[in-house]
């Protein structure tokens, strides 16, 4: 961009670095600040820089032995002033105006100091320019957003990996275990019921047997009574026959008949006695059986259902285990009331809320990554285009192409397409590339910034090439300020103007 202003810029410094008081005037075009070594050339640049950028700390600007300093700039009919004050604690505070075109990025794109920025980077052999372009294109803002969002996602991720959520993750297992305990309890309860039923059935069976035996015994006893009565009747009958026989003649037919009756009665008695004996034995056996059954009933009643106590113990243990498991599940489901972050809230709610936060932050990160990529790609392309144009227009011998690749690594291609690593370039070539990269950065990102400042880069430079580049920059920037060493040993800095 050709200079389109004829206004001079006046810079006044008071107690800045080694300069007590200085007034310089810059005109549109090339301004060369000439001064001997250690006379304050870099101090002037630093002082001037702090009127359009905050990259240099005020403590590096104010004279070490002074409490107050001042920088004043006359620009476009107005005065812009900044004061520097050293506090009792030694801190230096800057207050006042910034120039209307102030931009913090300008220090990296428009001020070429040997010890900082691009010049320092290139002379140090570095070829990585991502950060540089990030700052100039504000890609660093998106990068900060992405990083912060990612940090938050990681924080949430760590939170989800914490003990409370880990316990919650175990919830399905806990619920399965609880279901298993309930099933075991039901099984035990079923066994207890079964045992009680079986026992009752067994008792009932014995009682039925006793009843049946008792009934049979009664019948058999009745039968024995009948047999006993029959025996008595037969005895009476025999006695009656004996009485009759006494009264009857022995040889008579009646006596024979009575004798047969007596014999028959005796036989009957004998038979009945045998039957009584058999019946008595049967009754004895029945009584013994009954006694056995009654003993058995008593024993069973005393013993109770089989293994009931053991089953009851098992049931009791299972009940305790169920209570403990339910408490564990409650703990896994809910944050404790004294939890500073989520008192009493359900873990499932908090967890899904955190997951949704992560989901949103991932969407946000994706959006900003896309913006970052687009911004950086565009910045790189425009930057490369301006670098290529500068090399082409300057027609510098030895250079084919200089560009940043997609990883923002600087490639220096020699004529013939051979790539030369940055660290192997000569000192003069490094400076050439530094200045052209800065100019390209300025034209890409700060096209309206009116200044370009080059501080003492002539020491290791081919003068012809240096001034050729300066003249090229002069045509593109309203005010070009270059510091240069004079041969004299003393004297104040002065500005030589070349339109």
């Amino acid at each position: 961009m050709p200079p389109d202003t004829q206004e001079n810029i006046i810079l006044e410094l008071e107690n800045i670095g080694c300069l007590k008081r200085l007034r310089l005037e810059f005109k549109p075009g090339l301004n060369i600040i000439k001064a001997p070594n250690a006379s304050g050339k870099t101090t002037i640049i630093r002082g001037f820089s702090c009127m359009f950028s905050d990259r240099i700390p005020p403590s590096h600007i104010l004279a070490l032995d002074e409490l107050n300093g001042r920088i004043r700039v006359h620009y476009d009919g107005k005065i812009y002033e900044k004061t520097l004050r050293r506090t009792p604690s030694g801190q230096v505070i800057a207050q006042g105006d910034m120039l209307p075109f102030a931009d913090p990025r300008a220090f990296n794109a428009c001020v070429a100091l040997a010890e900082t920025g691009v010049v320092h980077k290139i002379t140090g052999g570095s070829a990585f320019f991502r950060k540089y372009l990030e700052e100039l294109s504000y890609g660093n803002y998106y990068s900060a957003l992405i990083n912060t969002s990612q940090e938050l996602i990681n924080e949430y991720g760590r939170k989800l990996a914490g003990p409370t959520f880990r316990n919650f993750e175990a919830l399905p297992l806990l619920l399965t275990e609880l279901t298993d305990l309930h099933m075991r309890r039901e099984e035990i309860q079923r066994k207890i019921e079964e045992s009680r039923f079986n026992h009752e059935a067994k008792l009932q069976d014995i009682r039925n047997q006793i009843e049946r035996k008792s009934s049979v015994l009664s019948k058999e006893e009745a039968q024995l009574s009948q047999l006993t009565r029959n025996l008595s009747l037969e005895k009476e009958k025999e006695e009656q026959f004996q009485e009759l026989l006494k009264l009857t003649e022995e040889s008579s037919e009646i006596a024979s008949s009575i004798k047969r009756g007596i014999t028959s009665s005796k036989e009957n008695q004998e038979r009945i006695r045998k039957e009584i004996e058999t019946q008595t034995q049967l009754i004895e056996k029945l009584k013994k059986d009954l006694q056995v059954l009654r003993d058995s009933l008593r024993r069973e009643e005393q013993a109770g259902p089989t293994a009931l106590e053991d089953l009851k113990r098992q049931l009791e243990n299972l009940n305790k285990m169920i209570i403990l498991k339910e408490e564990e599940i409650q703990r896994a489901e809910r944050f404790p009331p004294d939890d500073p972050e989520y008192p009493g809230r359900l873990v499932v709610d908090v967890r899904s809320e955190i997951l949704r936060k992560i989901e949103w932050l991932e969407k946000v990160t994706g959006y900003f990554q896309e913006k970052y990529m687009r911004r950086m790609t565009s910045a790189r392309r425009r930057f490369n285009s301006n670098v290529t144009r500068a090399f082409r227009e300057l027609g510098l011998k030895g250079f084919g192409n200089v560009f940043l690749d997609q990883d923002f690594m600087l490639h220096v291609m020699r004529e013939g397409g051979i790539r030369q690593p940055v660290e192997t370039l000569s000192a003069s070539e490094k400076l050439t590339i530094s200045l052209i990269l800065m100019l390209a950065a300025k034209e890409t990102f700060l096209p309206d910034f009116p200044l370009f400042i080059v501080d003492e880069l002539t020491l290791s430079y081919d003068p012809d090439r240096f001034w050729r580049i300066m003249n090229y920059i002069k045509r593109r920037v309203p005010y070009l300020i270059v510091t240069s060493l004079t041969s004299s040993l003393t004297g104040n800095p002065e500005v030589i103007h070349r339109p």
């Binding site: 957003l145 912060t148 949103w360």
Partner: protein, 56 residues
Amino acid sequence: MSNTRNAGSVNKVPYIKELERVALNLLRKNPNDKERLKEILENYATRYAREYNIRT
């Protein structure tokens, strides 16, 4: 203009332009205020995590 429009990705992100404007303003004023930036992002995520909850 819809505020849900984004840089062309598939997923729509509600009020992302608003978030971008607020965050960039903060970074321009104070590029090192990461805590405030985190707070802005957290508030955004919390708000939409809850709205998402209501919708579903």
